[in-house]
């Protein structure tokens, strides 16, 4: 599951305990140099604990953390000075915006002129040069978060550790902030660890993903791969794989689940072996009539509920329950309601197969 990468940060045999219980247990995790690694997982999965361990602000019960192959805790202050962090809360100090951005440089003994230059540059890059003289307590949530990110970049860190820095700001502000951040990060390319629970954010910003569940590393890989090809049932559930069916392989590339036959182009399991068949809800296409291609399931609409830009519909096909997310416009065009019969089309490429070990 772990790919070979040019590891900037390495986590080896890490165990963090709280109250005698292991809250984080990672055998091996490599954070690739110059890329954005998104750490995803449900609440309480240990994402923030991992970040705190990398910031050296908690003491693991066991394990090694390496930066460029060297133990990070040999000289914690020196290690931290090669990194920067930003959190969900902006965590600014009671001073002006510019003084906040200059602070990490001041702690590193950078002279006043250079400090000012860098602070002004990063305030400009985050579009908040006009706030430079404002006191940190007089900022809106979005402004404060921009200052926090400008401060994180100002010390030109090798490693950027970010704990859900976009989740505390309102939606329109968030959009612009992520856009600016993506642009800056692609130019400066620090090794970035971004903790997030947001799928869109992970797909948009991540080059690499590490998925944690209940304190354990369950899957690593490209974010799209983690979301589309989960390694096990727990990962499938977390990544929003609404359709997970227990079945078995009946012939080459063909599986049976709930009395329904499904073709898949995914890697095969042994003939007759139990398998979990996973399909993302947005990959299920509903039509009035079948066109003979791919998997075509005759299904009855059971429930319909709007979910932002899509309509989520639960359907039944034989003994199989399935969920489909259909864009609102496509749903209107389809013109069906509860009790109507439709054809659910699923491309064999969208049927992901997991060996079911129970």
């Amino acid at each position: 599951m772990t790919e070979r990468v040019d590891a900037h940060l390495e986590v080896r045999d890490l165990v963090v305990q709280r109250g005698g219980v292991n809250v984080l247990e990672i055998e091996t995790l490599d954070i690739p140099r110059g890329l954005v690694t998104v750490v995803i997982g449900p609440n309480g999965s240990g994402k923030s604990t991992l970040l705190a361990a990398l910031q050296l602000v908690l003491h693991p019960s066991r394990g090694r953390l390496l930066l460029d192959g060297e133990p990070m805790d040999a000289d914690p202050v020196r290690t931290r000075r090669r990194m920067s962090a930003a959190f969900q809360e902006a965590l600014l100090l009671s001073m002006s915006v510019r003084a906040n951005v200059e602070l990490p440089l001041r702690l590193r003994g950078v002279d006043r002129r250079r400090r000012r230059e860098l602070a002004e540059h990063w305030l400009e890059r985050f579009g908040i040069a006009n706030l430079s003289k404002r006191h940190a307590r007089q900022l809106s949530g979005g402004e404060a978060q921009r200052v926090s990110l400008a401060r994180a970049f100002a010390s030109q860190p090798e490693v950027l550790l970010l704990d859900e820095p976009f989740s505390g700001v309102d939606a329109p502000t968030r959009e612009g902030l992520i856009e600016d951040f993506a642009e800056i990060v692609s130019e400066t390319r620090p090794t970035t660890v971004l903790v997030t629970h947001d799928r869109d954010e992970a797909l948009r910003l991540g080059d690499h993903a590490a998925l944690l569940i209940e304190g354990g590393l369950r899957q690593t890989g490209r974010p799209a791969e983690v979301f589309d090809r989960p390694a096990d049932r727990a990962v499938a559930e977390f990544v929003g794989m609404e359709n997970v069916w227990a079945g078995e392989r009946s012939e080459s590339g063909v599986y049976r689940a709930g009395g329904v036959r499904l073709a898949s182009t995914a890697k095969s399991v042994a003939l007759g072996a139990p398998a979990l068949l996973c399909v993302r809800p947005e990959r299920v296409v509903l039509t009035r009539d079948g066109d003979g291609s791919g998997n075509q399931l005759r299904a009855v609409v059971r429930t319909v509920r709007p979910r932002g830009p899509v309509i989520r519909s639960d359907l039944s096909s034989g003994r199989l329950s399935l969920t489909a997310d259909v864009p609102v416009a496509a749903w209107d065009e389809l013109g069906v309601s509860v009790g109507d019969e439709v054809i659910a089309r699923i491309s064999p490429a969208d049927v992901h197969v997991i060996e079911d070990d129970g």
């Binding site: 910031q55 962090a85 809360e89 965590l91 510019r98 006191h135």
Partner: protein, 232 residues
């Protein structure tokens, strides 16, 4: 009432005429209490920070001792310091009893619990995540302490005022370890006690007024610092 008016008139006259003894006593008072407060801050703020930020065995006991110390009667402190510095006491060889240094020590012990207590309360009120951010920014131990002092400066100025107030206003301990020697260890409080005892109420009132005005001026400056608009 006449007695009080006479006292106020006498105070004005003493100050107007630039009475050498009054000025000398005032300056000595300021020097001893300032030194005691400065030492209390130097020791008390880091101690308050450690108590606020660290969890260790016996911490609760120390905090309870600090809280008790905040209300400790000055005569008890005076007795303790006198016993230690007495010629036959453990530090008798230093010949510090009845010196301004002994008074600084006594006032330091009186104001220290106040400074530790106020610092502890202010630093404990800082968002722990903000302290985490200070470390994450690459601050070392001293820099974290500096940032905490900066961040809690309003509360810490209360510690300065409390500490200075305790030092300058106490009389018992100064009497016990200073001896109220004219020209050497006489300060405003001990001189006031002496003049009251002699029935020289005008002088006692004059000295008290000087003490009150002095305390007020020092606190006025500190309050101005505390309440000024935040700057970069």
């Amino acid at each position: 009432m006449d007695l009080i008016w006479d006292g106020i008139r006498e105070a004005a006259r003493l100050w107007w005429s630039g009475d050498g003894e009054i000025i000398e006593i005032t300056l000595r008072t300021l020097a001893i209490s300032s030194a005691a407060t400065a030492l209390a801050l130097l020791i008390g703020i880091p101690l308050g920070a450690v108590l606020a930020l660290r969890r260790f065995w016996g911490r609760g006991l120390i905090v309870a001792a600090v809280n008790t110390g905040m209300g400790m009667p000055p005569v008890v402190i005076g007795l303790l310091v006198a016993l230690i510095l007495w010629r036959t006491g453990p530090l008798g060889d230093l010949n510090l009893i009845y010196t301004p240094t002994a008074m600084v020590v006594a006032q330091l012990l009186l104001s220290l619990p106040l400074v530790v207590g106020f610092s502890l309360a202010s630093i404990q009120s800082v968002n722990p995540r903000l302290i985490g951010q200070m470390w994450a920014m690459g601050a070392n131990r001293l820099q974290v302490l500096w940032l905490l002092v900066r961040e809690t400066r309003l509360g810490l100025l209360a510690a300065v005022m409390g500490g200075f107030g305790a030092a300058i206003s106490e009389v018992g301990a100064s009497m016990q370890v200073g001896g109220n020697l004219a020209g050497e260890t006489r300060v405003l409080t001990t001189a006031t006690v002496l003049e009251t005892g002699r029935g020289n109420f005008e002088v006692a009132i004059a000295l008290s007024l000087v003490l009150v005005v002095l305390a007020f001026l020092v606190n006025l400056v500190l309050t101005a610092v505390q309440q000024r608009r935040p700057v970069t």
